[in-house]
Symmetry: C2
Subunit: 209 residues, 2 copies
Protein backbone atom coordinates (compact mmCIF):
# COMPACT_ATOMS: atom_id res chain seq x y z
CA UNK A 1 0.00 0.00 0.00
CA UNK A 2 1.76 3.15 -1.22
CA UNK A 3 0.12 6.47 -0.51
CA UNK A 4 1.06 9.76 -2.09
CA UNK A 5 3.13 11.55 0.54
CA UNK A 6 3.60 15.28 0.08
CA UNK A 7 7.19 16.39 -0.59
CA UNK A 8 7.43 17.91 2.89
CA UNK A 9 6.30 14.60 4.46
CA UNK A 10 8.92 12.58 2.55
CA UNK A 11 11.65 14.94 3.65
CA UNK A 12 10.44 14.60 7.25
CA UNK A 13 10.56 10.82 6.96
CA UNK A 14 14.13 10.94 5.66
CA UNK A 15 15.21 13.20 8.51
CA UNK A 16 13.54 10.95 11.11
CA UNK A 17 15.27 7.98 9.58
CA UNK A 18 18.65 9.76 9.69
CA UNK A 19 18.11 10.65 13.36
CA UNK A 20 17.25 7.03 14.19
CA UNK A 21 20.38 5.80 12.37
CA UNK A 22 22.50 8.19 14.42
CA UNK A 23 20.78 7.30 17.69
CA UNK A 24 21.18 3.56 17.07
CA UNK A 25 24.85 3.99 16.22
CA UNK A 26 25.64 6.18 19.25
CA UNK A 27 23.50 4.22 21.77
CA UNK A 28 25.12 0.99 20.58
CA UNK A 29 28.62 2.42 20.85
CA UNK A 30 28.33 4.21 24.20
CA UNK A 31 25.11 3.05 25.88
CA UNK A 32 21.88 4.96 26.53
CA UNK A 33 22.95 7.10 29.49
CA UNK A 34 26.27 8.31 28.08
CA UNK A 35 24.74 9.79 24.90
CA UNK A 36 22.94 13.14 24.87
CA UNK A 37 20.31 14.43 22.45
CA UNK A 38 22.90 17.03 21.40
CA UNK A 39 25.35 14.26 20.44
CA UNK A 40 22.68 12.60 18.31
CA UNK A 41 21.67 15.88 16.68
CA UNK A 42 25.29 16.67 15.81
CA UNK A 43 25.84 13.18 14.37
CA UNK A 44 22.70 13.53 12.23
CA UNK A 45 23.75 17.01 11.04
CA UNK A 46 20.91 18.80 12.85
CA UNK A 47 20.60 21.40 15.57
CA UNK A 48 19.29 20.35 18.97
CA UNK A 49 16.04 22.24 18.22
CA UNK A 50 15.83 20.55 14.82
CA UNK A 51 15.98 17.13 16.47
CA UNK A 52 13.36 18.08 19.08
CA UNK A 53 11.02 18.95 16.20
CA UNK A 54 11.00 15.22 15.30
CA UNK A 55 11.36 13.50 18.69
CA UNK A 56 10.23 14.93 22.02
CA UNK A 57 13.09 13.37 24.01
CA UNK A 58 15.65 10.65 24.54
CA UNK A 59 13.15 8.13 25.95
CA UNK A 60 10.99 8.21 22.83
CA UNK A 61 14.08 7.95 20.63
CA UNK A 62 15.17 4.86 22.55
CA UNK A 63 11.79 3.16 22.07
CA UNK A 64 11.88 4.00 18.33
CA UNK A 65 15.42 2.61 17.98
CA UNK A 66 14.47 -0.63 19.74
CA UNK A 67 11.21 -0.97 17.77
CA UNK A 68 12.87 -0.33 14.41
CA UNK A 69 15.32 -3.17 14.96
CA UNK A 70 12.36 -5.43 15.81
CA UNK A 71 10.72 -4.43 12.51
CA UNK A 72 13.87 -5.29 10.54
CA UNK A 73 14.10 -8.66 12.36
CA UNK A 74 10.38 -9.35 11.77
CA UNK A 75 10.79 -8.70 8.03
CA UNK A 76 13.67 -11.17 7.81
CA UNK A 77 11.69 -13.79 9.75
CA UNK A 78 8.53 -13.44 7.63
CA UNK A 79 10.14 -14.14 4.25
CA UNK A 80 8.63 -17.07 2.33
CA UNK A 81 10.11 -20.58 2.61
CA UNK A 82 8.97 -21.59 6.11
CA UNK A 83 11.01 -24.81 5.85
CA UNK A 84 14.07 -22.78 6.56
CA UNK A 85 12.70 -20.97 9.63
CA UNK A 86 15.06 -22.69 12.02
CA UNK A 87 18.05 -21.67 9.95
CA UNK A 88 16.82 -18.11 10.10
CA UNK A 89 16.68 -18.14 13.91
CA UNK A 90 20.31 -19.25 13.90
CA UNK A 91 21.21 -16.60 11.30
CA UNK A 92 19.63 -14.01 13.58
CA UNK A 93 22.03 -15.04 16.36
CA UNK A 94 24.90 -14.79 13.85
CA UNK A 95 23.87 -11.28 12.84
CA UNK A 96 23.80 -10.34 16.53
CA UNK A 97 27.39 -11.55 16.86
CA UNK A 98 28.38 -8.85 14.35
CA UNK A 99 26.78 -6.03 16.37
CA UNK A 100 28.01 -6.35 19.95
CA UNK A 101 27.17 -2.69 20.63
CA UNK A 102 23.51 -3.17 19.79
CA UNK A 103 23.35 -6.45 21.71
CA UNK A 104 24.94 -4.70 24.70
CA UNK A 105 22.30 -1.98 24.44
CA UNK A 106 19.50 -4.58 24.58
CA UNK A 107 21.09 -6.44 27.50
CA UNK A 108 21.65 -3.23 29.44
CA UNK A 109 18.23 -1.70 28.79
CA UNK A 110 16.30 -4.95 29.37
CA UNK A 111 18.06 -5.24 32.74
CA UNK A 112 17.11 -1.69 33.72
CA UNK A 113 13.57 -2.06 32.36
CA UNK A 114 12.47 -4.52 35.07
CA UNK A 115 11.70 -1.32 37.00
CA UNK A 116 8.04 -0.48 36.14
CA UNK A 117 8.93 3.23 36.00
CA UNK A 118 11.61 2.73 33.32
CA UNK A 119 10.67 4.32 29.96
CA UNK A 120 11.22 0.99 28.15
CA UNK A 121 9.36 -1.23 30.70
CA UNK A 122 6.13 -1.65 28.72
CA UNK A 123 8.08 -2.03 25.48
CA UNK A 124 10.02 -5.01 26.90
CA UNK A 125 6.96 -6.63 28.52
CA UNK A 126 5.19 -6.57 25.15
CA UNK A 127 8.31 -7.57 23.22
CA UNK A 128 8.73 -10.77 25.25
CA UNK A 129 5.01 -11.57 25.00
CA UNK A 130 5.28 -11.26 21.20
CA UNK A 131 8.54 -13.22 20.95
CA UNK A 132 7.17 -16.06 23.11
CA UNK A 133 4.02 -16.21 20.94
CA UNK A 134 5.92 -16.15 17.63
CA UNK A 135 8.46 -18.68 18.87
CA UNK A 136 5.74 -21.06 20.04
CA UNK A 137 3.99 -20.88 16.64
CA UNK A 138 7.21 -21.60 14.80
CA UNK A 139 8.26 -24.43 17.14
CA UNK A 140 4.81 -26.01 17.07
CA UNK A 141 5.05 -26.19 13.26
CA UNK A 142 8.54 -27.67 13.41
CA UNK A 143 7.62 -30.24 16.10
CA UNK A 144 4.59 -31.38 14.05
CA UNK A 145 6.55 -31.55 10.83
CA UNK A 146 9.22 -33.83 12.33
CA UNK A 147 8.85 -37.53 11.65
CA UNK A 148 7.77 -38.83 14.06
CA UNK A 149 6.34 -35.57 15.51
CA UNK A 150 8.28 -34.33 18.54
CA UNK A 151 6.43 -34.36 21.88
CA UNK A 152 7.73 -31.07 23.33
CA UNK A 153 5.53 -28.23 24.60
CA UNK A 154 6.01 -25.34 22.11
CA UNK A 155 5.20 -22.63 24.69
CA UNK A 156 7.73 -24.00 27.18
CA UNK A 157 10.47 -24.43 24.58
CA UNK A 158 9.81 -20.98 23.10
CA UNK A 159 10.36 -19.40 26.51
CA UNK A 160 13.53 -21.46 26.98
CA UNK A 161 14.92 -20.57 23.54
CA UNK A 162 14.42 -16.84 24.09
CA UNK A 163 15.94 -17.08 27.59
CA UNK A 164 18.87 -19.08 26.23
CA UNK A 165 19.64 -16.49 23.55
CA UNK A 166 19.39 -13.63 26.07
CA UNK A 167 21.54 -15.38 28.66
CA UNK A 168 24.19 -16.33 26.08
CA UNK A 169 24.46 -12.66 25.12
CA UNK A 170 25.37 -11.72 28.70
CA UNK A 171 28.16 -14.34 28.82
CA UNK A 172 29.31 -13.50 25.28
CA UNK A 173 29.55 -9.75 25.94
CA UNK A 174 31.70 -10.44 29.00
CA UNK A 175 34.00 -12.94 27.30
CA UNK A 176 33.42 -13.26 23.52
CA UNK A 177 36.10 -15.88 22.95
CA UNK A 178 34.59 -18.24 25.57
CA UNK A 179 31.07 -18.30 24.13
CA UNK A 180 29.99 -19.41 20.65
CA UNK A 181 26.35 -18.29 20.72
CA UNK A 182 25.55 -19.89 17.37
CA UNK A 183 26.96 -23.29 18.33
CA UNK A 184 25.13 -23.19 21.66
CA UNK A 185 21.75 -22.47 20.04
CA UNK A 186 22.35 -25.17 17.40
CA UNK A 187 23.23 -27.65 20.19
CA UNK A 188 20.09 -26.74 22.16
CA UNK A 189 17.89 -27.29 19.08
CA UNK A 190 19.60 -30.53 18.24
CA UNK A 191 19.10 -31.85 21.81
CA UNK A 192 15.38 -31.36 21.09
CA UNK A 193 15.65 -33.41 17.91
CA UNK A 194 15.56 -30.39 15.59
CA UNK A 195 18.32 -30.36 13.03
CA UNK A 196 19.57 -27.07 11.72
CA UNK A 197 20.46 -27.07 7.99
CA UNK A 198 24.29 -27.22 7.70
CA UNK A 199 24.42 -23.94 5.76
CA UNK A 200 23.16 -22.21 8.92
CA UNK A 201 24.79 -24.42 11.53
CA UNK A 202 28.35 -23.51 10.48
CA UNK A 203 29.89 -20.06 10.73
CA UNK A 204 30.41 -18.05 7.55
CA UNK A 205 33.42 -19.18 5.53
CA UNK A 206 36.34 -16.75 5.78
CA UNK A 207 36.34 -14.02 3.15
CA UNK A 208 38.91 -14.28 0.36
CA UNK A 209 39.24 -10.92 -1.33
Amino acid sequence: MTEAIPRQGRKGERTRSRILDSAMELFSRSGFHAVSLRDIAAHAGLTHAGLLHHFPGKDSLLIEVLSRRDEIDAKVMSRPDPGDLLGRVVDQVTRNMRTPGLVGLYVKISGEAADPDHPAHQYFVERYQRLRRQGARLLSELFNRASPPLPHDPDAVSQQLIALIDGLQTQWLLEPEAVDMRASVVAFLSQLGLDVPPAHAEPDPPHHP
Copy 2:
Protein backbone atom coordinates in the same frame (compact mmCIF):
# COMPACT_ATOMS: atom_id res chain seq x y z
CA MET B 1 39.17 -24.70 61.78
CA THR B 2 38.50 -22.09 64.47
CA GLU B 3 41.21 -19.58 65.21
CA ALA B 4 41.31 -17.32 68.24
CA ILE B 5 40.23 -13.93 66.94
CA PRO B 6 40.97 -10.97 69.22
CA ARG B 7 37.85 -9.29 70.63
CA GLN B 8 38.42 -6.18 68.48
CA GLY B 9 38.63 -8.38 65.35
CA ARG B 10 35.37 -10.15 66.14
CA LYS B 11 33.61 -6.83 66.64
CA GLY B 12 35.03 -5.60 63.31
CA GLU B 13 33.74 -8.75 61.59
CA ARG B 14 30.27 -8.22 63.04
CA THR B 15 30.20 -4.60 61.88
CA ARG B 16 31.38 -5.57 58.37
CA SER B 17 28.69 -8.19 58.26
CA ARG B 18 26.01 -5.69 59.35
CA ILE B 19 27.15 -3.24 56.65
CA LEU B 20 26.97 -5.97 54.01
CA ASP B 21 23.45 -6.96 55.15
CA SER B 22 22.34 -3.34 54.84
CA ALA B 23 24.02 -2.89 51.45
CA MET B 24 22.46 -6.09 50.07
CA GLU B 25 19.02 -5.07 51.30
CA LEU B 26 19.21 -1.52 49.92
CA PHE B 27 20.89 -2.42 46.59
CA SER B 28 18.27 -5.13 46.07
CA ARG B 29 15.39 -2.81 46.84
CA SER B 30 16.52 0.28 44.91
CA GLY B 31 19.41 -0.75 42.62
CA PHE B 32 23.09 0.13 42.79
CA HIS B 33 22.99 3.69 41.46
CA ALA B 34 20.05 4.94 43.56
CA VAL B 35 21.67 4.02 46.90
CA SER B 36 24.36 6.16 48.53
CA LEU B 37 27.02 5.16 51.06
CA ARG B 38 25.25 7.47 53.52
CA ASP B 39 22.00 5.49 53.09
CA ILE B 40 23.84 2.26 53.81
CA ALA B 41 25.64 3.73 56.84
CA ALA B 42 22.36 5.03 58.28
CA HIS B 43 20.66 1.65 57.72
CA ALA B 44 23.53 -0.13 59.48
CA GLY B 45 23.48 2.34 62.38
CA LEU B 46 26.87 3.86 61.54
CA THR B 47 28.20 7.25 60.55
CA HIS B 48 29.46 7.78 57.01
CA ALA B 49 33.03 7.90 58.34
CA GLY B 50 32.41 4.73 60.36
CA LEU B 51 31.38 2.89 57.20
CA LEU B 52 34.41 4.20 55.25
CA HIS B 53 36.62 2.69 57.98
CA HIS B 54 35.45 -0.76 56.79
CA PHE B 55 34.90 -0.27 53.04
CA PRO B 56 36.72 2.27 50.88
CA GLY B 57 33.72 2.90 48.60
CA LYS B 58 30.52 1.79 46.94
CA ASP B 59 32.28 -0.27 44.24
CA SER B 60 34.08 -2.45 46.75
CA LEU B 61 30.86 -2.87 48.74
CA LEU B 62 29.07 -4.04 45.59
CA ILE B 63 31.73 -6.65 44.86
CA GLU B 64 31.57 -7.88 48.48
CA VAL B 65 27.76 -8.12 48.36
CA LEU B 66 27.88 -10.10 45.10
CA SER B 67 30.70 -12.36 46.34
CA ARG B 68 29.01 -13.07 49.67
CA ARG B 69 25.88 -14.35 47.93
CA ASP B 70 28.12 -16.60 45.81
CA GLU B 71 29.68 -17.98 49.00
CA ILE B 72 26.27 -18.75 50.50
CA ASP B 73 25.22 -20.47 47.24
CA ALA B 74 28.49 -22.42 47.08
CA LYS B 75 27.98 -23.69 50.65
CA VAL B 76 24.49 -24.94 49.79
CA MET B 77 25.79 -26.65 46.63
CA SER B 78 28.70 -28.39 48.37
CA ARG B 79 26.67 -30.24 51.03
CA PRO B 80 27.07 -34.01 51.02
CA ASP B 81 24.64 -36.26 49.09
CA PRO B 82 25.71 -35.60 45.49
CA GLY B 83 22.76 -37.71 44.25
CA ASP B 84 20.53 -34.79 44.94
CA LEU B 85 22.64 -32.17 43.14
CA LEU B 86 20.10 -31.61 40.41
CA GLY B 87 17.38 -30.95 42.95
CA ARG B 88 19.63 -28.38 44.55
CA VAL B 89 20.07 -26.50 41.26
CA VAL B 90 16.29 -26.32 41.00
CA ASP B 91 15.99 -25.24 44.65
CA GLN B 92 18.46 -22.44 43.91
CA VAL B 93 16.11 -21.15 41.21
CA THR B 94 13.24 -21.37 43.71
CA ARG B 95 15.19 -19.39 46.30
CA ASN B 96 15.84 -16.75 43.64
CA MET B 97 12.09 -16.47 43.04
CA ARG B 98 11.75 -15.30 46.66
CA THR B 99 14.29 -12.48 46.23
CA PRO B 100 13.32 -10.51 43.11
CA GLY B 101 15.26 -7.47 44.35
CA LEU B 102 18.53 -9.39 44.51
CA VAL B 103 17.86 -11.09 41.16
CA GLY B 104 17.14 -7.68 39.65
CA LEU B 105 20.43 -6.41 41.05
CA TYR B 106 22.33 -9.26 39.36
CA VAL B 107 20.51 -8.79 36.04
CA LYS B 108 21.11 -5.03 36.08
CA ILE B 109 24.75 -5.17 37.14
CA SER B 110 25.68 -8.06 34.81
CA GLY B 111 24.20 -6.04 31.92
CA GLU B 112 26.24 -2.95 32.84
CA ALA B 113 29.37 -5.00 33.50
CA ALA B 114 29.93 -5.91 29.83
CA ASP B 115 31.78 -2.59 29.78
CA PRO B 116 35.43 -3.43 30.63
CA ASP B 117 35.68 -0.26 32.74
CA HIS B 118 32.76 -1.24 35.00
CA PRO B 119 33.84 -1.98 38.61
CA ALA B 120 32.17 -5.42 38.47
CA HIS B 121 33.49 -6.44 35.01
CA GLN B 122 36.26 -8.76 36.21
CA TYR B 123 34.02 -10.15 38.95
CA PHE B 124 31.42 -11.24 36.36
CA VAL B 125 33.99 -12.63 33.89
CA GLU B 126 35.40 -14.84 36.65
CA ARG B 127 31.97 -15.71 38.04
CA TYR B 128 30.79 -17.11 34.70
CA GLN B 129 34.06 -18.99 34.19
CA ARG B 130 33.59 -20.61 37.61
CA LEU B 131 29.88 -21.34 37.10
CA ARG B 132 30.51 -22.93 33.67
CA ARG B 133 33.27 -25.10 35.17
CA GLN B 134 31.22 -26.19 38.21
CA GLY B 135 28.14 -26.81 36.06
CA ALA B 136 30.13 -28.95 33.62
CA ARG B 137 31.55 -31.06 36.45
CA LEU B 138 28.10 -31.62 37.94
CA LEU B 139 26.48 -32.40 34.58
CA SER B 140 29.29 -34.73 33.55
CA GLU B 141 28.69 -36.77 36.72
CA LEU B 142 24.95 -36.85 36.13
CA PHE B 143 25.28 -37.81 32.44
CA ASN B 144 27.65 -40.67 33.33
CA ARG B 145 25.48 -41.89 36.17
CA ALA B 146 22.38 -42.15 33.94
CA SER B 147 21.58 -45.58 32.59
CA PRO B 148 22.43 -45.72 29.77
CA PRO B 149 24.87 -42.78 30.10
CA LEU B 150 23.65 -39.64 28.31
CA PRO B 151 25.69 -38.51 25.27
CA HIS B 152 25.56 -34.74 25.84
CA ASP B 153 28.59 -32.44 26.03
CA PRO B 154 28.78 -31.24 29.68
CA ASP B 155 30.57 -27.99 28.78
CA ALA B 156 27.98 -27.07 26.17
CA VAL B 157 25.02 -27.92 28.41
CA SER B 158 26.55 -26.10 31.37
CA GLN B 159 26.79 -22.91 29.33
CA GLN B 160 23.20 -23.39 28.14
CA LEU B 161 21.85 -24.02 31.64
CA ILE B 162 23.47 -20.88 33.05
CA ALA B 163 22.27 -18.84 30.06
CA LEU B 164 18.76 -20.26 30.45
CA ILE B 165 18.57 -19.33 34.14
CA ASP B 166 19.87 -15.80 33.43
CA GLY B 167 17.52 -15.25 30.50
CA LEU B 168 14.52 -16.54 32.43
CA GLN B 169 15.27 -14.01 35.17
CA THR B 170 14.97 -11.14 32.67
CA GLN B 171 11.55 -12.35 31.47
CA TRP B 172 10.41 -13.15 35.02
CA LEU B 173 11.35 -9.73 36.40
CA LEU B 174 9.36 -8.07 33.61
CA GLU B 175 6.28 -10.27 33.98
CA PRO B 176 6.43 -12.63 36.99
CA GLU B 177 3.04 -14.25 36.36
CA ALA B 178 4.00 -15.23 32.79
CA VAL B 179 7.21 -17.08 33.68
CA ASP B 180 7.62 -20.09 35.98
CA MET B 181 11.42 -20.25 36.20
CA ARG B 182 11.43 -23.48 38.15
CA ALA B 183 9.13 -25.31 35.71
CA SER B 184 11.19 -24.05 32.77
CA VAL B 185 14.49 -25.32 34.24
CA VAL B 186 12.90 -28.66 35.15
CA ALA B 187 11.55 -28.97 31.58
CA PHE B 188 14.98 -28.16 30.10
CA LEU B 189 16.66 -30.84 32.26
CA SER B 190 13.97 -33.37 31.46
CA GLN B 191 14.37 -32.75 27.69
CA LEU B 192 17.99 -33.82 28.23
CA GLY B 193 16.85 -37.03 29.92
CA LEU B 194 17.65 -35.82 33.45
CA ASP B 195 14.80 -36.30 35.89
CA VAL B 196 14.50 -33.95 38.81
CA PRO B 197 13.35 -35.61 42.06
CA PRO B 198 9.64 -34.74 42.56
CA ALA B 199 10.33 -33.04 45.90
CA HIS B 200 12.30 -30.40 43.98
CA ALA B 201 10.29 -30.35 40.76
CA GLU B 202 7.09 -29.13 42.43
CA PRO B 203 6.69 -25.73 44.09
CA ASP B 204 6.50 -25.61 47.90
CA PRO B 205 3.12 -26.63 49.27
CA PRO B 206 1.08 -23.65 50.47
CA HIS B 207 1.62 -22.75 54.11
CA HIS B 208 -1.16 -23.54 56.55
CA PRO B 209 -0.61 -21.55 59.73
